[in-house]
């Protein structure tokens, strides 16, 4: 007992700069507020990000169910929708304005609030200090602020759903002029202002988090933990943070200019606009393409911000549960690095059809297709890690293997879309929807699920229920393919995205049954996610208790902490590291933790 008190004193000190030593002589007591709400413990902040992310994922997923209802059953009316949604579903049919609001918010919520904040916010916070051997982040204070800026951004985004004119509805990319002119549509009014403010706060949150992740990884590793010994999760989270820190500020500058166009009468993005009433706007000399450049300079790195953490966690989980070292550790790091560099050089492949100079386009085609090289290296390394492994099919492992499958099938269509000539046909069709949902959306979700199932015992000291987890895996896996695979065909046939109702087009009528099928599967898959959410919350309180310190037989440092670590992570000294994280199946031993010194007749790694 006295030990705990002393330890607690110690980590209060260690989490501040040494200029504050004299302040903490008094005994520090944790209240509900400092432990669960304004916590500076990275593990609690991770859980805050995770649970906020789950709430957002529920809302974002629900939105997709609503618009899939419209797409699958365009003729049918659902009177109960009007009871819930009021004038947005007049007569039981989703109104066009609301449909656009739904797709916009679905994209914004899932890309930023779930797969950026919920994914890297959770696992960077949780895993970085635990896996590199640090008591907390470089600045626990900034870390706490990072969560609360995210919270504020969430509240503002949520409140935009309730304004009279509805939330932003110009697409998650918020291209001007639709987003710059309040008169353009109902969803371009107050909704867009709230959207921009919320996103600006979100950028601040990401930056504060990213700064912390980078300096923690580079400065606070325990003794012996060289950069070539850190687990691949850490490398992935490091590159994710670098991408975020360099690209989010550019997005912010784009948003500031957009805000001026909306309210100060400037013409950054506006030029030669005629309203439907015949009136001409005075703006001239603006360029809507400028916004697209600023947006996609973030927007493309953003997809890797989403994907890299999943890649890192999958590498770690695959190796642990194959009981084999990761194949090609340095190649994995190198390919992460290559992806991070290329992420900044390919943004214009989102803009092939904006009138981009074809010569410039061909440069971007080349750079885009180059990404296939590091991606293929990663895929080969994952497969060779699995090859002849002693595989344990834990739920985390299932989702990791699922991730590899989705990354392959979604990545291959990227090669199609990266060609500027093919893109003329495929741009803004369901082919694009299918591509990015599989490779970025569902794959990253699988990485996130894998991470949650794998590290849940460390987070809460309990296991999640396996039966529910397997049901969750199989239905999600099969469902994801059933939803998105057919969309490739629709896209190849030219079916455009963002349309409310396809039944009046002769060319797209043929897909009515297919759309209904997709919608049905989407609803089933959504229901299974509710099973996951139930499993998650149920297991926090009632799950089977973890009784051993290292339930997966893993090498990394987080499993050397107590089953329920306090703030400061290790009672006593932080362990020293003597080897890399992937000594599985070595010298006749199943696994050798990183803390074990290298033996006399053993080669060091």
């Amino acid at each position: 007992m006295s030990n705990e008190a002393i330890l607690h004193e110690a980590d209060v000190h260690t989490s501040h700069s040494n200029g504050h030593h004299d302040e903490h002589v008094h005994h520090h007591k944790e209240t509900f507020l400092t432990k669960y709400v304004f916590s500076q413990d990275h593990k609690m902040i991770a859980k805050q990000f995770l649970i906020t992310g789950i709430i957002w994922a529920f809302l974002g997923g629900m939105m997709s169910v609503l618009f899939r209802l419209q797409l699958g059953y365009p003729e049918t009316t659902f009177p109960w929708l009007e009871d819930i949604l009021g004038h947005w579903a007049k007569g039981g049919k989703i109104q066009p304005e609301f449909y656009y609001a739904l797709v916009t918010m679905h994209g914004t919520v899932l890309v930023f609030f779930v797969l950026t904040a919920g994914l890297s916010g959770t696992f960077a916070n949780f895993l970085i200090p635990l896996q590199i051997g640090a008591r907390d982040m470089a600045s626990p204070m900034l870390n706490m602020l990072s969560y609360w800026f995210f919270w504020l951004a969430s509240i503002i985004m949520l409140s935009s759903l309730f304004v009279q004119t509805g939330p932003a509805s110009g697409g998650w990319t918020s291209y001007p002029p639709l987003s710059a002119l309040g008169g353009a549509s109902e969803g371009s009014k107050a909704g867009v202002d709230l959207w921009i403010i919320s996103m600006a706060l979100f950028v601040v949150s990401s930056l504060l988090g990213g700064l912390n992740y980078i300096s923690t990884i580079l400065n606070m590793r325990t003794k012996g933990m060289s950069m070539t010994r850190v687990p691949l999760t850490i490398w992935a989270l490091f590159f994710t943070a670098v991408l975020g820190v360099l690209s989010f500020p550019v997005l912010l500058s784009g948003f500031i200019l957009l805000l001026f166009d909306r309210h100060a009468g400037t013409s950054f993005y506006l030029s030669d606009i005629y309203l439907a009433s015949g009136e001409a706007l005075p703006n001239e000399g603006g360029s809507a393409i400028l916004f697209q450049h600023l947006f996609w300079f973030l927007g493309h790195p953003e997809v890797y911000i989403i994907l890299l953490p999943a890649m890192g966690m999958v590498s770690e989980i695959l190796s642990t549960n194959s009981r084999k070292p990761i194949f090609g550790y340095m190649a994995m790091v190198g390919s992460l690095f290559a992806i991070a560099i290329l992420a900044f050089l390919v943004w214009a492949h989102h803009m092939f059809v904006t009138g981009l100079n074809p010569f410039l386009g061909s440069v971007f085609v080349l750079l885009t297709l180059l990404i296939a090289v590091p991606s293929a290296i990663k895929v080969f390394n994952w497969l060779t890690t699995l090859w002849r492994g002693n595989i344990r099919f834990t739920p985390g492992m299932m989702f990791s293997i699922g991730f590899v499958s989705l990354f392959i099938s979604g990545g291959l269509t990227g090669i199609w879309l990266g060609n500027s000539s093919l893109d003329i046909h495929l741009h803004d069709t369901y082919f694009v929807i299918a591509h990015f949902h599989i490779v970025m959306g569902v794959a990253s979700f699988f990485g996130m699920f894998a991470g949650i199932y794998h590290w849940f015992p460390k987070m809460y000291g309990r296991y999640m229920n396996n039966t529910m987890a397997y049901v969750h895996f199989w239905i999600t896996m099969i469902g994801a393919y059933l939803i998105f695979w057919p969309m490739h065909y629709e896209g190849l046939a030219g079916m455009p995205r963002r349309y409310l109702d396809y039944s009046s087009w002769e060319s797209f009528k043929q897909f009515a049954e297919l759309n209904r099928f997709i919608s049905t599967v989407a609803m089933i898959v959504f229901a299974v996610q509710l099973l996951f959410v139930f499993n998650f919350f149920y297991s926090i309180f009632k799950g089977r208790k973890v009784t051993s310190q290292n339930p997966w037989g893993s090498n990394t440092l987080e499993w050397t902490t107590p089953i329920r670590p306090g703030h400061g992570n290790w009672p006593g000294e932080i362990p020293e590291v003597h080897r890399w994280a992937y000594d599985y199946g070595k010298d006749g031993r199943e696994f050798i933790p990183q803390t074990e010194p290298v033996g006399a007749n053993e080669s060091a790694h």
């Binding site: 700064l211 300096s215 003794k223 550019v250 784009g254 100060a264 009468g265 000294e573 932080i574």
Partner: protein, 200 residues
Amino acid sequence: MVTNSILKQYTGAPMGNGGQRKKIHPYKFTLWVGIGSIIMMFAGFTSAYIVKREQPGWIGFSMPMLFWYSTAAILLSSITMQMALRAFKSREMGRYRNLLLITTALGVLFILLQVAGYYQLNHMGVRVEGSGSGVFFIIIFGLHALHVAGGIVALAVMVFRALSSTRRSYDVVPVEVTATYWHFVDLLWVYLFVFFLLIQ
């Protein structure tokens, strides 16, 4: 036993992780990464300026004299900041306090000159309305001034701490972090000034 080891950690390395010597303090490192991210934001703005300049309806500007003075003020403040840091390191607290006060005053002077320079621009017909260069100034110079104001707040806190008689701190990290940031906003201004001077 445990108590001993913890005490050793807590008095040893700055962040108490295993007594490993650190080359750079995490706060300083965090600042450097933050600087990288601020640079990206201004790079976004200046590249938007370059793109926008090619569009129809563009109106240029000529650099008012006042911005030369503000440049001189902020360059001078960087020198006094560096001298203050040196004074702090050699424990000349009186000198440190005075130099810090001068730096703060020069920072405030810089912002006042920027505001005056902006009005001078307005006077010369460079306005926010329309599609000319005018609107960039309020955004770029305004955001830069906000970053300087942040530095002034940090300086004010340092002055307040230096004046306080109840607490005495000889920890150099906060002073170094503030100094680095101050030099950064100075250099950022020099970049913006040269950029607009060359492009006007």
